[in-house]
Amino acid sequence: MVQMEKQNHEESEQTNLLDYEKIVASKEFQQMLSGKKKFVISFTIFFMGYSLLLPFLVFYTDILDHTFIGDITWAWVYGVSITVMSVWVCSMYVRKSEKIDKQIQEIIEKEGL
């Protein structure tokens, strides 16, 4: 079975070598790619920035030292909010990916992959 899989794989590589150029150059693929890129890059900058900002804010400023409720300071709220932020960003990704999945499905059907 493994050998057959390999053979198929080699065949598809030979016949599709040019097709990949065509698919990548197609309008649909480029559209999908640029949408994905925009989303991934902007969100990656956001979550990296959000989380790496914390140590600098708590060590070098006192804006998070003010109290939120009782003796809980904003520094603790920020710390816990990274957990909430991560779960939120994750759900945004899932939602965006579902849209991209549809675009990809169209490309797959059109190109007969």
Partner: protein, 521 residues
């Protein structure tokens, strides 16, 4: 000797043996040994990922860190969740779409050279063994404290127990052990959390006021700076943790156990919710330990705070809860170590033996035999090395593995998927520089050099000032990839061919129309 602990440990071992027995019936081919045939569901893989990632240092270490260092516990903790965002956004789906059994499979989809495969597999082995050393040293220390078993014996017991179910059950048994461990860990932490908060009248706001007077640190307990001297120190540690996960082979290989990118994505959602809940409870368990057990009692049992959770369990729940938490710690270590051994063994038998030595023509039987011998070899090597490392700090060993992963694997993974001009030379140079650069920096760091005689291996001033080399070695890894690629492109004139291949990678990694290594049932 605490007999409740012994009985629970025995029950747990019998349970894993049953899992192994059933899994061994399903483990007939090399593919099922390496990746459980690629047939796991999102929930199964999500739980297994959480079980694979949350090691003894996550469970015991974080509760200890919050109890002893208050706010500074965050810097050890929050990187973990963010690191799974890095995995989700940049690595998980392309890896599932391009890979088959190993990380090297993914990289060699683009660069079809044996040298690239060899270097990637070697890298996987070094990082895996490094990570495992930290776990085995932790296991030895834990057993010594919990059961009074000598360090050397404990390490050997854990090694052999884990080897049994890897040998016979392969990835199926390992996955199930990780799934059950994740459920036990979350369950155990939840029970402990409810009891501790009940003792505190579920007053989530008042506990902060209490903490101002509960420890010798006073009000400083609630502020940053007890453990870390500066923001750069804390940020460097966090950066290493955030980027490390996306390069750890035993975590990445879990994405090859699912059938497609959609399931890979959904399994990360599971990890997020599980670890998010865990992290919130850990903060309050740290508070509870500091307030109820007391800083001096925690430090007396273990200066690093690793015994905070078991001691808290004993205080609020007596011997039974103590035994349960101890058994959960045991399961935690077993599950993580098994995942790592399996990763190392797969890299050896699939990459070195089958693909490089046998040109991919080894029979299923030969591969299975080789994978099993490799498991024995990796375990034996790790046991022997960890016997000599008893005096090393566990968190330090684990952090080297993370930094190695972020410096040598991550740059190559990202550039292979996303950079058109990346090439074979860049991949090899980048991985080797990241690997040896990190090891050399560690060898020159304060971990090895100390002016006080006897404090570390060598007496003298450290040549490199930072404990964690990540902030230097991670950029170094990326730079080496870039320079290597420039050099390689200038030297050969294969640019046109690599470019063609990149389009293929682009289509495959985005559409997943060519997913390999999945057995259709």
């Amino acid at each position: 000797m605490n007999w409740t602990v012994v009985i629970l440990f025995a029950l747990m071992s019998i349970g894993t043996l049953f899992i192994t027995y059933y899994a061994s019936k399903k483990t007939k081919t090399a593919g099922s040994f390496y990746t459980a045939g690629g047939g796991l569901t999102a929930r199964q893989n999500g739980l297994a990922l959480a079980g694979d990632f949350m090691s003894a240092s996550t469970f015991l270490g974080l509760i200890g860190a919050f109890s002893l260092t208050g706010y500074d516990g965050f810097f050890l903790m929050y990187g973990a969740l963010v690191s799974f965002l890095v995995v989700l956004f940049l690595v998980a789906e392309p890896l599932r779409n391009l890979g088959k059994y190993t990380l090297a499979d993914m990289v060699t989809t683009r660069f079809k050279y044996k040298q690239v495969r060899g270097v990637t597999a070697f890298n996987t082995l070094v990082i895996s063994v490094m990570y495992m050393l930290g776990q085995l040293v932790a296991a030895g220390a834990l057993f010594k404290l919990l059961l009074d078993i000598p360090y050397n014996t404990s390490v050997i017991i854990v090694g052999i127990a884990m080897l049994v179910f890897v040998l016979f059950g392969g990835m199926t048994a390992t996955s199930w052990v990780q799934i059950i461990k994740a459920i036990l860990l979350i369950g155990g932490v939840f029970i402990l959390f409810m009891i501790v908060m009940w003792k505190m009248n579920f007053n989530f706001i008042g506990i902060f006021t209490d903490m101002k007077t509960a420890t010798p640190m006073g009000a400083d307990y609630l502020k940053a700076g007890i453990k870390y001297a500066s923001g750069w120190d804390a940020a460097s540690l966090s950066l290493g943790l955030i980027l490390g996960t996306a390069g750890l082979p035993h975590i990445l290989i879990r994405f090859l156990t699912v059938p497609n990118a959609q399931v890979a994505r959904k399994s990360v959602v599971w990890v997020m919710w599980i670890m998010g809940a865990f992290h919130i409870m850990v903060i309050f368990l740290g508070f509870g330990a500091a307030k109820l057990v007391g800083t001096s009692n925690i430090m007396a049992a273990n200066p690093a705070g690793n015994m905070a959770a078991p001691l808290l369990a004993k205080l609020v729940g007596g011997d039974i809860l103590f035994a349960f938490i101890a058994a959960v710690s045991f399961a935690t270590i077993l599950a993580v170590v098994a995942g790592i051994v399996l990763t190392g063994a797969t890299a050896f038998s699939h990459d070195f033996y089958n693909e490089i030595l046998k040109d991919g023509k080894a029979t299923e039987r030969q591969q299975m035999t080789m994978a099993r011998w490799a498991s024995v070899g990796v375990t034996a090597l790790s046991i022997v090395l960890s016997l000599g490392l008893q005096e090393f700090n566990v968190a330090f060993l684990a952090s080297i593995a993370f930094t190695l992963a972020a410096s040598s694997n991550l740059p190559v993974i990202l550039l292979t998927i996303y950079w058109k001009n990346f090439n074979k030379t860049g991949a090899i140079v980048g991985m080797m520089t990241g690997l040896f650069g990190t090891l050399i920096l560690v060898a020159l760091s304060p971990n090895v050099w100390n002016p006080v005689p006897g404090a570390t291996i060598i007496t003298g001033d450290p040549i490199f000032p930072l404990n964690s080399p990540g902030i230097v070695s991670i950029p170094l890894g990326f730079l080496a990839c870039y320079l290597g690629a420039l050099f390689g492109n200038r030297q050969t004139n294969v640019k046109a061919i690599t470019n063609d291949n990149f389009n293929e990678i682009l289509v495959k990694s985005n559409t997943g129309h060519d997913v390999k290594g999945v057995v259709r049932h």
